[in-house]
């Protein structure tokens, strides 16, 4: 047992002891799925059918699976980040209620505390997001399943990376917060806004050209695309097997952001992993350095 394991244990226990925080985080993805399926399912379905070239016949199973996978991938892409913001409240609560003093009077380094908060939030968020992934996969299975084992494994990897990204991002933003009011405000902004800027709520192709270019600089966009690619890959393969021309399939992929273009240059899946993984490393490093600098400023 070392300082990290004890701090992580403390932070994770406090998260799960706060039943309100835990259940809110857990049921949010489930509620989103129900709302999406109820209100957006038919919109996605109509939009997909109207985008098909005339003369193409397609079974309900594929259409339902296409819509279900799109919904599920949108929810997972948003949840990995928004749940991280919900789970990462302890570091702000410790500041708001003065508990942080009990840690800062000790010789423990601020960077150690920072990593303790990061890993604890990562664990809590992962538990919730993996549960959400299970719910989403069950939903997809109930309406039409075309995913392979590798698709599922890659989807879990995508969720893991996005959770790491969301946790790092929330850690940096929460570093500057010190009250419950600020926490609530940031939580509301992230929950309502992140889905738009990562391309989960609306396909990026529907934004203006200038906005599309800006969004392509945001790492979350590539996370959403990875989740979408692995959730919908099986459906696209099925379409090809059913005789859809490659151009049509690629065109549909473009329309739902499975294919991304950075200034007209195609971004491969591998490149998306590099961008997302690199962003995680960069953000975690920035977060730790910020805490180290804060610790040094006390000593001056």
């Amino acid at each position: 047992m070392n300082i990290f394991s004890v701090l992580i244990k403390r932070n994770v226990k406090l998260f799960f002891k706060d039943k309100g925080m835990f259940f809110t985080s857990l049921i949010t993805p489930a509620i989103l799925l129900v709302l999406y399926a109820t209100f957006l399912g038919s919109v996605y379905k109509d939009s997909f059918i109207s985008s098909l070239p005339e003369g193409f016949n397609i079974g309900d199973d594929i259409i339902n699976s296409y819509v279900g996978c799109q919904l599920a991938s949108s929810i997972l892409a948003v949840s990995c980040v928004s749940v991280a913001f919900c789970s990462n409240l302890l570091m702000v609560q410790d500041k708001a209620n003065g508990r942080i003093k009990d840690f800062t009077i000790s010789p423990v380094k601020p960077s150690v505390m920072a990593i303790g908060y990061y890993i604890a939030t990562l664990i809590s968020t992962l538990i919730i997001c993996l549960a959400a992934t299970g719910i989403c996969l069950a939903y997809v299975a109930s309406i039409g399943w075309y995913m392979s084992i590798s698709d599922v494994l890659f989807l879990v990897l995508d969720v893991f990376l996005l959770v790491m990204f969301g946790t790092a991002l929330s850690s940096i933003i929460n570093f500057f917060l010190s009250s419950q009011g600020q926490m609530s405000a940031v939580g509301t902004i992230i929950s309502s806004g992140y889905g738009f800027i990562c391309g989960a709520y609306m396909p990026i192709s529907q934004f203006s050209e200038g906005l599309q270019k800006i969004i392509m600089f945001l790492p979350g966009t590539y996370g959403t695309s990875l989740v979408r690619n692995h959730a919908m890959g099986g459906v696209f393969e099925e379409m090809s097997d059913k005789g859809f021309p490659n151009e049509v399939v690629e065109s549909i992929k473009d329309s739902v952001d499975c294919n991304l273009y950075f200034f007209d240059k195609y971004v491969s899946i591998d490149a998306m992993y590099v961008i997302l993984g690199g962003s995680v490393i960069f953000l975690v490093a920035v977060y730790v350095i910020m805490n180290m600098l804060k610790g040094k400023s006390f000593k001056k």
Partner: protein, 304 residues
Amino acid sequence: MKNIIEINNLNKSFGSVKAVRDLSFRVKEGELFAFLGINGAGKSTTINIICGQLKFDSGSVFIDGHDIKKNVDEIKGKIGVVFQNSVLDNALTVYDNLQSRGALYGIYGKAFQNRVAELAKLLDFEDLLKRTLGKLSGGQRRRVDIARALLHKPKILILDEPTTGLDPQTRKILWNVISNLRKEENMTVFLTTHYMEEAADADYVVIIDSGKISAEGTPLELKNDYTGDFITIYGAEESDIKKLGNNYEKIRDAYRVSVENTEKATELILQYPNIFRDYEIIKGKMDDVFLSVTGKNLSGGEER
């Protein structure tokens, strides 16, 4: 005895507000040091600086010979703090709380278990270890707060109004424990309190007002310098008391006469032996000292 805390010409401002002004004092190793002042006098600012929580504008702070600007991490390992309000996690058990705080000082495994057992016995909370902290009474939680501060065997224990809101019995238990620790481990106790009877037991007292020292000394020195004595005379007539020529007040079955000091009291007794048939002489209290020094009352948790 060596100085364990040395503060020289300390200054700290928050914007235009000067919280601490040219503060200098010494705390000797093993003593009970009382640091008194009304809310906003600069006590908490000074404590935060001593604990390495706050930068200061000028001056120097040495703890156990270490300059706080150069060795803050080493100093942090020598200080234990009992905060005014508990800063432990209400949702966790007493054991989990102490485990997470012990780890901050590198205390794990068997060493931690032994230390917790020792403190639980000393502070009489062995049966509370598995209880959730938030469900304990104020007195029980205070004992756990003190255990947390003592986990790493600090050389200096800072008690920031530790007994505010506690019942007399719990206050007595806590002071007995602290007193024993001081004797057994030569631990220095740096106390801020609103209970003047606690300050009266201190080895040395510093009173600050508006960020600067208003008075300092042993309780006896302060009482001698800032308050007079009181003679309570029983079985005398008011006309006799008037003859003494001093201020007095009638209490239930006696008169309380103010005198400048014990020497003046002796002179009065010798001058009027017939009046002093049944009497007692007592020194002024720390409350009177505080009132005399600051012009403000500070008693039982409230300033008036």
